[in-house]
Structures are given as structure tokens and as C-alpha cells.
Amino acid sequence: MLTAMSELRKGEGGIIKSIEHVGNMRRRLIDIGFNVGERVTLLTRAPLGEPSAFYIKGSVIALRRNDASLITVITEEEDGTDPKQRRQGHF
């Protein structure tokens, strides 16, 4: 199912569906490996809750919540939980 990359759970992965960033940041993200169709995994969140560290194409990249929320991913499991609930569950 579709979800914002920022809403992934710790250790959860997904395939990048679309990137809504524009201009320089869009390019930067594409340049460092956030490509549509690529697999991304949320490794951990920083001690203060933000940013999150993502595993993408062999490297670990940290993004703030706002930036990560503009990337949509497809997660494999179709458990039907509401992303909002998940987020509350995590924090």
C-alpha cells in the first residue's frame, strides 16, 4: 500500500513510487539514489525523533520528516493499518 516515506516503521522497507520535491532538492535526492523503483528502508530515527536514517542503494542517508514525507513508497505488507495510528504507535 502507498505511504509517505516518513511514516515507515523502524526496519520497514518500501519501493519508491514518486518524489514530490521540486528543483534542487529533487535533483539532489535523485543524485544520491532516491530513484523511483528503488528499495528504501527506514533504519532508525534520531534520539530526538527526527531526522530518520534511510538505507538506499548501499548507503545511509538521513532526512528530516518534512523532506521524507514528500516521497511516496509502496510497502509490501497489506495489513491495512492506518498510517496515522502507526505513527502514534511508534512514538
Binding site: R27, P51, L63
Partner: protein, 695 residues
């Protein structure tokens, strides 16, 4: 950029490529693939290495002999792509496009080749005679990844080599490949863009342009970067009419097929390159194990929810404790040595009949002040710099930025500011240059203006000395107070960043990415020699070259009288009301003013001023120094305010010049001077009020 001869010295103002005869080779690649390590291995130079993205922000060049050939190597700052518009990647991009060079080496990481091939493919299209160097082969092997460079070479039709930068033999292999020649690569961008490229080619073909150059030109036009295209135009010597025709053709192409969206067309171009990179890497790379997608044990500790901050504080405390403790003994030895030297010089001068008019200023001015600077500054630096370099090489600095990012986000600043602050701990000038890693101009200015809030290595020993004299009896206590001082620096930096974001540098935090590199075992021997020879001795040299003449000057003004009172007394008298107002005194203020070229001399100037004309001229140990301060009217408040003012006052002249260079704005430079001064004055006043309430 690390702290090197070039980054803290006059080389900081020099970005030009030095032209040599023989072959010129550019070394490019993603950040953090070991370009600098490879560069050092090839040239034997001490280009500073570090394990974090954005470490090298300007060019370094070195020479290497190969047979009878001379090769000039140029180490470019890391970049992820040639299409980026960020300031950080501009230097590398412009070099690839516009510099005259014979070969371009693209350094790739064997463990994630497809990501690195993205840049390699771009460079191969722009410059013929590219050599691909697949580095970090040893690291990849550990993860069960092997790269078939023969297949890669065949596929790309460019020479490729597998290296582990720490191995000398691999470097030789790379050099020998520079002999080979190859053509520029062509990537298939799909029918629509390929047709467009052919159309542009037929427009410019009359100028005798190379096919590969025409392709590059056509693709670049779609990017609509006016300034860049103008540069490309003059490089390819295109006439105005041809250039304008091609430009309007590309604009109409963009409008017709992509409704004018640069994002859309650049997506299509990147997609083609990514697909091709992925295909090539899947042909040439074999992975035995599935790639690891979990945090390493050390990362779980260093950025873990409950362990990150305790470990950070403990590490900081440990480093400072080791610095304080370890510096004590050599400091005492050096002080004894310089006392001895002063006595020897005095007797020597007496014996050969030099009049005391000359010998006294030399002994009491030059030797004493220089002696202070060396004995108090050298040992802590020689311990702190290697420790700091070690943390840098292991890859801890980006983790600090990761842990602290939330605070910067609340201050509307960039998380990478934490990295520039770490650099500032070494040297503020280097910290200011390091601010280039921040993309957003607003956030870069914030980082740049607040960088001097981090006490640099020139100020650390001062803090250690004063804390040791007044507040702490043991090394551990001194280190604990120092941790507190640093925490105050960070807190003030965050607060001021927030205030700047709300006033003169208004704006929302911008987007950024922070790479957390894998941990790497540093080469300890190299770390120590490099940090001692390049950083410590250099910074010390700068301090001494300022200390010696200032020592003479201060002795002269302390001993030349105008109307029965020395010039020094006159000067301190003028400054005294201002000094007293902020809980210091005229002498301290004068010390900081004279310390503008190098903060290291502030304390010796103050001591010299206090002791001139009094009986207290001999201070063999720090405890005797305490008497000097106390008999000059220091109280606990003076000491506290001295510490505050040491951390928050005008940056040294090198830092100011660097700010001027980085911002090319007199206004911002003036602001960089006034901001910390104002903060220092306000904090000193607050502390004065608190002390008066306590009494």
C-alpha cells in the same frame, strides 16, 4: 575540508589550479569514496582526509612522477552528479566542464557501484580519456561483493582499475592506466531526446564542433542554466547567432514536450543514466551475501535513542580530560625550558656586552611571551588535534549532526551546521570555509556568522589554564567545566541561530540530506603525524609569529613612559571603564584587542601588563600565576567573565578575512565581528548582575 596547511593558512585564499607541465589529471567522485586517501597515496601529500561528506570543499593539487612523465593531480571536492546546482558541487562540475586537463579519474565505491556509476557515466560523456577507479575493494570484499573491472572496462570502453587506496601497488596500477586513451561515452536517452540532440547537432555542426561536445551542449541547454550555458558557449567558441538559435530551439522543445518543466526533462535524462548504471552494475558486480540493511552494533549505540547523548557527552569529556591531563606534564617541562632559556639568554647577552636596553626587551618581551604561547598551547593542541582527527576519520562527526539535528531544526537552521561547528572547534577559519556544505544561502550565513561561538584550538588552552587556576583542582574537574563551557557555546549558537532566523535572516528551514558513512578504521600512524605536523605545528607557528613581535611591542609600551606613566598604563586606563562595565578590566580588554591576529597571545599579554613594573615577574607555575591575577584585582566574577569573553568576542583576523572571502560582503564581515562581541558583552553583563545579586 579539514584543517591543513592550506585550510588554516594563507592557502585558504587560494583556489586556483596550479598549472604544471606534463599531464594534468582530475580526480573526481562521490563524496567519501576515499579520493583524498588515494590522492595522498599517489602524491605522498598531506591532503587532509576525513570520513564525512563535504570534507574537501576546495581544490588540492599535487605532483607525481611516473617514469619520465610528470603528472599533476587535482583532487576535486566530492559530488554526486554534474547536474546539481548546489554551491558545494559547483566547483567540481565547473572543473570537469571548463578546466584544461588530460585525464579525468572517477573514483567509485565498489560496495555500491550503481550509485557511483551515475556520476561516472556523466563524466564519461563530458570528457574523453576518463579512467574509472573502483576503490574500497577491500571493504567490498568483506561484504562479499566483487567487481569485474574487465567487464566494466569492456562495457564502457574506458580503462577501469580495482583499488584499495591504502595499498601502494594499486596506486601504481592506476597511474599506469593514465597512458591509455578513450572516447567520450554516449548514453541512449530515448527517441524523443535523441532526436532533439540530433537537431541541435545539425544546427551547430557548421562550427566544426565535436559530436560529443554537441551532445553535452544540447543536454545542458535543456537545463536552462543561463550562466553555465554562456560559459559553455565561449568554451566551444560558438557564435552568438548559432548559440541563440540553438537556445530558442531547446526552449520550444521544452515547451512542446515537457510544458516547460525542467524537472520533467531532467527526470527523464537522469532516468536514462540511472537505468544504464543499474544495468552495467548488475552485469559487473556479484554479491555473495544479501546486502546488510540493518544498523551496525556501533551505530545502535552511537545514534541509539538512550545511548546517543550519554556517549556523546562521555566522549567529549574523555577527550577534554585526556587533553588537560596529558598536557600538564609537557607544559611544565616547556615552561621550565623557556625560563631556563630566558636566564641563559640574559647571561649570554651580559657576557658579550649587549646593553640591557636591547637584551631586556628580547628576554622579557619576545622570549617570555613566545615561551608562554608554546608551553601553554602546544601540548593541548598536540593531544586534542589527533583525537579530533581520529573521530573525524572513523566517521563520528555526521552522527553528531544526526543526533543534534532536531535542535537545529527548531532553530530553523541546517543540521549540517553541527559539522561546521565541529570544524570550528579546530579552527574557526576552517569552520567558516566548511559552511560551503550548507546549500541554503540563508542557513549558510547563519552557520558562518555563529561559527566563532565555538572556542577554537587557539582559545581552548586559555580556557584550560584559567579554569585550572580558578575553578578546578583536578584534570577531571577542569574537563567537566570545559564540557559545561562547550554546552554553553552550543546553546548560545542555537539561540542566536533562532534569533537570526526570526530577524535578519528570516526563513523556514530548507531541505537537506545528510549521509551517514560506514565506520572506517583510521590509519592511526597517519592520523598522528598528519595532525601534529600539518595542524598543530602550523597553527602554533602562526601563533608564535604573532607572539614574538607582540611580545616586543607590549614590553615596549609597558616600559616607555609618557609623563611618568607608561603607554600601556595610558591605554589600559582608557579601556578600563569599558572593561569594568562588563566585569573585566582595561588590561583584559587590551589583551583581547591585541589578540586579534591570534587569540593565543591574549593571556601572555595580560600577564605581561599585570607584571610590568611590579615585583611579581617570576611565575614558574600556574599557582603562582593565580597570585598575579588576584593581586591585580581578579575575583571569581572576573574569571567567569573572562571565560565568557574568551568564547564570545570578535573572531580572529584570519576568520574575519575568511568570512569576507566566503560572503564577499563587507556588511556580513562587520556583522561577523559585531555579533559575537555583542553576545559576549550581554552575557558578561548578565553574569555581573548575577554576581552582584549573590553578594
Amino acid at each position: 575540508m579539514g584543517l591543513t596547511l592550506n585550510s588554516v593558512g594563507k592557502g585558504i585564499f587560494d583556489d586556483k589550479i596550479t598549472d604544471g607541465d606534463g599531464m594534468t589529471v582530475l580526480m573526481s567522485g562521490n563524496p567519501n569514496v576515499g579520493k583524498s586517501t588515494l590522492f595522498n597515496c599517489l602524491t605522498g601529500m598531506h591532503q587532509h582526509t576525513g570520513n564525512w561528506t563535504g570534507k574537501t570543499v576546495s581544490l588540492a593539487s599535487g605532483k607525481v612522477r611516473y617514469g619520465d612523465k610528470r603528472v599533476t593531480l587535482i583532487d576535486l571536492p566530492g559530488c554526486f552528479s554534474l547536474n546539481s546546482r548546489s554551491e558545494e558541487e559547483r566547483v567540481a562540475r565547473d572543473c570537469i566542464y571548463f578546466e584544461n586537463y588530460d585525464r579525468a579519474v572517477v573514483v567509485c565505491d565498489a560496495s555500491c557501484l550503481s550509485r557511483h556509476l551515475y556520476l561516472a557515466l556523466q563524466i564519461c560523456q563530458v570528457s574523453p580519456n576518463t579512467v574509472i577507479c573502483v576503490n574500497l575493494a577491500d571493504e567490498a570484499k568483506k561484504h562479499g561483493i566483487t567487481v569485474d573491472t574487465d567487464a566494466l572496462s569492456k562495457r564502457l570502453k574506458v580503462p577501469c582499475v580495482l583499488t584499495s587506496a591504502k595499498k601502494k601497488s594499486d596506486c601504481k596500477k592506476l597511474i599506469s592506466l593514465l597512458e591509455k586513451q578513450s572516447d567520450a561515452l554516449e548514453i541512449d536517452y530515448g527517441e524523443r531526446i535523441e532526436n532533439y540532440i540530433s537537431d541541435i547537432y545539425s544546427l551547430v555542426i557548421g562550427t566544426g564542433i565535436l559530436r560529443s561536445d554537441a551532445r553535452v551542449f544540447a543536454l545542458r541547454l535543456l537545463d536552462s542554466d543561463e550562466e553555465f550555458c554562456e560559459k559553455l558557449k565561449s568554451k566551444l567558441s560558438l557564435s552568438d547567432s548559432v548559440y541563440n538559435e540553438a537556445k530558442s530551439f531547446s526552449v520550444s522543445f521544452l515547451d512542446t514536450h515537457y510544458s516547460g518543466s525542467i524537472d520533467l526533462v531532467s527526470d527523464e535524462i537522469s532516468d536514462a543514466i540511472i537505468k544504464s548504471a543499474n544495468a552495467i552494475s548488475s552485469e559487473c558486480v556479484t554479491e555473495k551475501k544479501a546486502s546488510k540493511k540493518a544498523l551496525s552494533f556501533s551505530d545502535r549505540l552511537l545514534i541509539g535513542k538512550f545511548t546517543a547523548f550519554p556517549i556523546m557527552l562521555a566522549l567529549l569529556f574523555f577527550i577534554l580530560w585526556l587533553t588537560v591531563k596529558g598536557a600538564n606534564y609537557p607544559s611544565d617541562m616547556l615552561r621550565a625550558f623557556f625560563n631556563e632559556l630566558e636566564t641563559l639568554a640574559r647571561t649570554g647577552f651580559n657576557n658579550i656586552g649587549v646593553p640591557s636596553l636591547i637584551s631586556t626587551p628580547i628576554c622579557e618581551g619576545i622570549i617570555r611571551v613566545t615561551g608562554w604561547v608554546v608551553s601553554v598551547m602546544l601540548p593541548p593542541m598536540a593531544i586534542f588535534f589527533p583525537m579530533f582527527t581520529l573521530l573525524e576519520d572513523i566517521g563520528y562527526l555526521p552522527r553528531i549532526a544526526f543526533n543534534l539535528d532536531r535542535c537545529f531544526s527548531c532553530s530553523h537552521a541546517c543540521g549540517k551546521q553541527a559539522l561546521t561547528m565541529c570544524m570550528g572547534l579546530g579552527c574557526n577559519a576552517a569552520g567558516v570555509v566548511g559552511c560551503r556544505i550548507i546549500d541554503s544561502p540563508r542557513e549558510r550565513d547563519i552557520a558562518l556568522l555563529t561559527n566563532s561561538f565555538m572556542p577554537c584550538n587557539g582559545r581552548f588552552p586559555m580556557l584550560i589554564a584559567i579554569i585550572g587556576i580558578f575553578f578546578a583542582s583536578s584534570g577531571g574537574a577542569t574537563a567537566a567545566v570545559l564540557v559545561g563551557v562547550l554546552a554553553m557555546s552550543v546553546a548560545v549558537t542555537l539561540a542566536v541561530s533562532y534569533m537570526l532566523s526570526k530577524t535578519v535572516l528570516r526563513g523556514k528551514p530548507s531541505s537537506f540530506t545528510l549521509e551517514l558513512p560506514p565506520f572506517r578504521m583510521p590509519n592511526i600512524g597517519q592520523v598522528i603525524t598528519r595532525s601534529i605536523f600539518d595542524r598543530t605545528l602550523f597553527v602554533l607557528g602562526r601563533a608564535v609569529s604573532v607572539a614574538a613581535p607582540t611580545g616586543l611591542l607590549i614590553w615596549l609600551i609597558a616600559n616607555i613612559n609618557i609623563g611618568n606613566v607608561s603607554i600601556l598604563a595610558h591605554a589600559t586606563e582608557i579601556l578600563d571603564p569599558i572593561g569594568r562595565f562588563i566585569g573585566l578590566d582595561g588590561v583584559i580588554l587590551l589583551g583581547f584587542l591585541l589578540g586579534l591576529p591570534a587569540n593565543e597571545i591574549v593571556v601572555p599579554v595580560i600577564i605581561m601588563a599585570y607584571t610590568s613594573g611590579s615585583a611579581l615577574t617570576d611565575y614558574a607555575s600556574l599557582s603562582e600565576l593565580k597570585n598575579v591575577f588576584i593581586s591585580s584585582g581578579w575575583t571569581a566574577m572576573t574569571a567567569v567573565n573572562f571565560i565568557i569573553f574568551t568564547v564570545f568576542h570578535w573572531p580572529c583576523s584570519t576568520t574575519l578575512l575568511t568570512v569576507k572571502k566566503e560572503t564577499s560582503s563587507i556588511k556580513k564581515t562587520a556583522f561577523a565581528f559585531l555579533l559575537p562581541t555583542a553576545v559576549g558583552v550581554i552575557l558578561c553583563l548578565i553574569s555581573r548582575v548575577i554576581f552582584s545579586l549573590l553578594q
